[in-house]
Symmetry: C2
Subunit: 152 residues, 2 copies
DNA sequence: TATTGTTATACTCTATAACTATA
DNA sequence: TATAGTTATAGAGTATAACAATA
């Protein structure tokens, strides 16, 4: 007796399928994170960049792209917005490559981002044991690999 | 030694966080499903509607919305496209409510959707035991609930 | 008046193609 | 030529507000 089925009176063949539950949960979690970051006036992608730059000062945009498996084109507006907000700065290094750093303001905000992220994470895993968390992350990585590659 | 870190040369503080792995995996899985449905000229949302209508002939759009936790406004283009393709039809029932059905063509395509969905699902869980699958789905549901509600 | 459906709109993430600049 | 970054654009999902139609 699943509550969703009762409420809607419908049989939902998708319930219980991993792909469907995955999407539903990821959407809910993303929305929650978005809410948590709103007071900081940051989007998820922007907050991720701050976290990465804090741990990897001086790395380039393409470094970040590879790390996040993002498209270089999609990094541009993110970097631009953070630069506009005075949170990060760039220095040319080699070729067209740009080295990225947090400004003092960026470092200060990063501390708040870290806190917000940790709270968010704690909230979504609060009813899972450490062991369960580890298992889920491991399973997600396996699934991700099998979904990504056309491994015959 | 995680491969992503080696490749990029970056330390990615997000790796291992449930929220991040969730988003990454969900994105990859969604892309894979999208590819799997492309030969049928269906998007994920459209395929989901076919599945639901096959099991709940005669239900209304708002029934579907509640079942999928979707916004009514977002159902309109989906329903329109499937009607335009001759896959579903509607009958007025009560108030403004419309009863939705699969056409013969829709039923035929639904069979192919079911097969494609099953293959997709099999692909993404192929390296997980039944037990693991169950655990992951259960964990996802718990996470989803805790992310959704502002449960103090 | 409450429910159902519709329109219009906007934001985010993701993706691609075509381009510029530099070693 | 290969790499890094940029521009423009497009598609898909999700969200809200305002509206129309019907019991």
């Amino acid at each position: 007796m699943k509550s969703a089925e009762i409420a809607a009176g419908l049989s939902v063949p998708l319930e219980g399928m991993l792909g469907f539950e995955l999407r539903r949960t990821a959407t809910a979690v993303a929305a929650a994170l978005s809410d948590a970051l709103e007071p900081l006036d940051l989007r998820t992608s922007e907050a991720s960049l701050l976290l990465i730059l804090a741990e990897n000062p001086g790395c380039t945009q393409s470094d970040v792209c590879r790390a996040l498996r993002a498209q270089p084109a999609n990094m541009v507006p993110i970097v631009n917005r953070l630069m506009g907000a005075g949170l990060i700065e760039r220095e040319p290094i080699e070729g067209r490559a740009m080295s990225l750093f947090l400004t003092r303001k960026g470092k200060a905000l990063h501390e708040r981002v870290k806190k917000a992220m940790a709270q968010h994470e704690a909230r979504i895993v609060k009813r899972l044991s450490k062991e369960q968390q580890k298992q889920v992350v491991e399973a997600l990585r396996i699934i991700c690999k099998d979904a990504c590659c056309t491994d015959s």
